[in-house]
Symmetry: C2
Subunit: 436 residues, 2 copies
């Protein structure tokens, strides 16, 4: 089947990231979607600027309306940001019968009700997973994954810049202004950081989340918004002393009286999972009546993470083109004719680090024997813990952490160590993973 | 539109939970799915047993084939568990042209390839979100939300019983056998705990996750499986001393050589988010090339959490009945004609606890004035922190945590406190939430 043809508005970092991702994972995406996806036209403000992606085979223009009116494009990706001309372009695309994928939270939060009306009138769809919490599939999870629940409240760290600043204030004891200046140097914060540190960006995202959670229209103007500019490192330290972290949260809650929509700094108990979400990472905790609390964590911004959500939306739209609805999403994610025959490795081939615990005779030379055997098997040691013998015991526990090694080598070394007279019984062996 | 008619196989706790959830959230579910969902027939082994749900209006039978062959049912929910007769019943339902929703991980892990073949042949779907990690929408997130990514590895705490036992060993310093016996008393562990503590249940789930992540066929027989029965409280304590937690993980990884499929106890750095997942909770961390690490956390078992996933699958299937594919999933989760007009509350109505920081004159009676004002406003105090004055400073910081109070009351109290001569400048006020 021919590839689905896509037009792109905005060739900044996320636009380039999307083109790169579609190219790099081209085969994997087609195996999932059933068809390839190809960017055929793109609009950028300045065509001469160097870009972080190849634009080979893409018709480039400075006029975004050309892309939106291009009869060849079936789906339009809007990555320009801001209200206008994004709003006008998206509506024009919908009127032209094209589906729209957008990462524009401001646009959806303020003009979503209008835009969805145009989409319905024209029998096309608008997808906006990338608008909230970057690459975390939070919209899909709430909209589909929790569809059986009455959602009671949700609370999210949904602005990476604010979370980075508060994390630095906590871990480094620095003042707000200091960290902000550094974040701007590092490119985590905009030259004008108002939207991030005053909570406007988080309020855009909360508006969308609340609508999806509670089935209410988008009402950005009713969100209570506070930023983090008045938080001092002293507040962060006092909160810690009391057992709390300060996080900038978007919170919405359904009560009998109505709906709460609020964005503000918040003291959270330190043991709360959300309190451990640091740096530029995002996370949303959702409380629902049947499933209880669920949490979704990941990168909330950045070219690749945002592109991940944009491409997921593209695949969703392309999967809707499938004529047979029950085969829309393949059971195992990939088309049944496109499964891989990659072999499953025998466990002896697997490389991991190890924790080893053994009981050894409390006599000189034992540790030397053990480390020699490990050394000969090419296994290096990361840490050794030798414990005192229990009163009257002849054996002492020795605990070793190794660096990663192929399991086969460890099997051989373990056999040799267990053959030592000074080693009693079997060695307890547990794998160790850094997960990085 | 008439409600979709559903047949249910198995009326145990999850079956009862599903009936209760469909009834309790009947309106909310119909607003999302576009149609109501109604259980019209159910099979149970023993019809005389008391159940945790109403069976009014449901045709009950002891013969599950009656439900599967009932011409009225459009979707069959299989909650019997085990391999047979579940396999035969599911295949019969598919042959009868009925869609199937199942929570049966063993069935999908071992017979999924065969079952999906029958589904394809008959133009119907098989949904199994409830088979992995209970109410966490992990299958949907990987299959759809991460569809643009090449998934590198995933690691999950996907057996609540094993995680509960390891958590107790860590926090209470108890031995494996002790905790297992208690878990059995509490109903967290089966009378025959083999599947949980030997890793078989986790291996079923890992088999499914790996297929969806990598696009490989289901290959349960190739999973390397180790349980937690050989882990002692001493191992847990030594691991902690070295900066690690021991967790029972399902791990799969793609390498150039092939695919790793393994379930085993694992030392994880304590700072890892997965290390903070305690008790019966589940969580899966997925590493993907574009989005980076994402994590999904929630209840992995229990009647309500499993029912949440079953109903989400039902809504997915019902949404596929929608003739207009682009309106399959409503933009804002609920049908546009079914949005709620619940009012957004003014912030003065909102009830939260507060952190207050103020600079006060270092003289007697000030704290008495402050606590009197708070008391008169009906605000009770949870904690007070009074710091030493800086050398030569005339003012000292006082920090208060209050119990929850309506914002309006706090506004008034704050105004009165700031009017005290001994209080310098404005009071810093930050909301506090327990998120429970």
């Amino acid at each position: 089947m021919t590839a689905v043809k896509v037009g792109l508005l905005g060739l900044g970092t996320v636009g380039a990231g999307t083109i790169n991702l579609l190219e790099r994972n081209n085969d994997e995406i087609a195996r999932r979607a059933g068809r390839g996806i190809e960017v055929v036209a793109a609009a950028a403000r300045n065509l001469d600027r160097p870009r972080g992606c190849s634009t080979k085979g893409i018709r480039l223009t400075t006029d975004p309306f050309e892309v939106v009116n291009d009869p060849e494009t079936e789906i339009i990706i809007e990555l320009m940001g801001g209200y206008e001309p994004a709003r006008e372009l998206v509506i024009q695309a919908l009127r032209n019968g094209k589906h729209v994928v957008t990462a524009n939270k401001a646009l959806i939060a303020l003009h979503g009700n209008e835009i969805f009306g145009h989409a319905r009138d024209n029998g096309v769809t608008v997808a906006f997973e990338a608008a909230v919490a970057g690459g975390i599939p939070i919209i899909k999870s709430i909209r589909e994954g929790l569809a059986g629940n009455r959602i009671e409240w949700l609370a999210g760290i949904i602005n990476g810049t604010a979370n980075f600043i508060l994390s630095e204030m906590y871990y480094e004891g620095r003042q707000f202004g200091d960290v902000l200046a550094e974040a701007q140097r590092l490119g985590y914060a905009e030259a004008d950081p108002t939207f991030d540190v005053e909570g406007v960006d988080a309020a855009h995202k909360l508006t969308i989340l609340a609508s999806i959670a509670f089935g209410i229209p988008l009402q950005f103007d009713k969100v209570h918004v506070e930023g983090i500019t008045h938080i001092s490192r002293e507040d962060v330290a006092y909160a810690e002393e009391l057992g709390y972290r300060i996080k900038h949260l978007g919170i919405c809650r359904q009560t009998d009286e109505g709906v709460e929509l609020r964005v503000h700094p918040t003291l959270l108990p330190s043991r709360q999972l959300l309190s451990s979400v640091d740096g530029v990472m995002n996370a949303v905790m959702v409380m629902a009546d049947a499933v209880g609390p669920t949490l979704y964590y990941g990168a909330g911004a950045g070219a690749d993470a945002t592109a991940s959500a944009v491409v997921a939306d593209l695949v969703d739209v392309v999967r809707e083109f499938e004529l047979d609805p029950v085969n829309r999403v393949p059971y195992l994610a990939f088309q049944s004719t496109a499964l891989s025959d990659k072999p499953v490795l025998p466990v002896s081939n697997i490389v991991t680090a190890y924790y080893l615990r053994m009981e050894v005779a409390d006599q000189p030379g034992v540790l030397a024997d053990i480390t020699r055997i490990l050394g000969e098997a090419g296994i290096s040691i990361e840490a050794i813990l030798q414990k005192e013998p229990a009163p009257g015991a002849e054996h002492v526990p020795v605990i070793l952490l190794t660096h990663p090694v192929r399991e086969r080598q460890m099997d051989e070394a373990q056999e040799r160590m267990e053959a030592l007279e000074a080693v009693q019984g079997r060695i307890t062996r547990i794998r160790q993973e850094q997960l990085q």
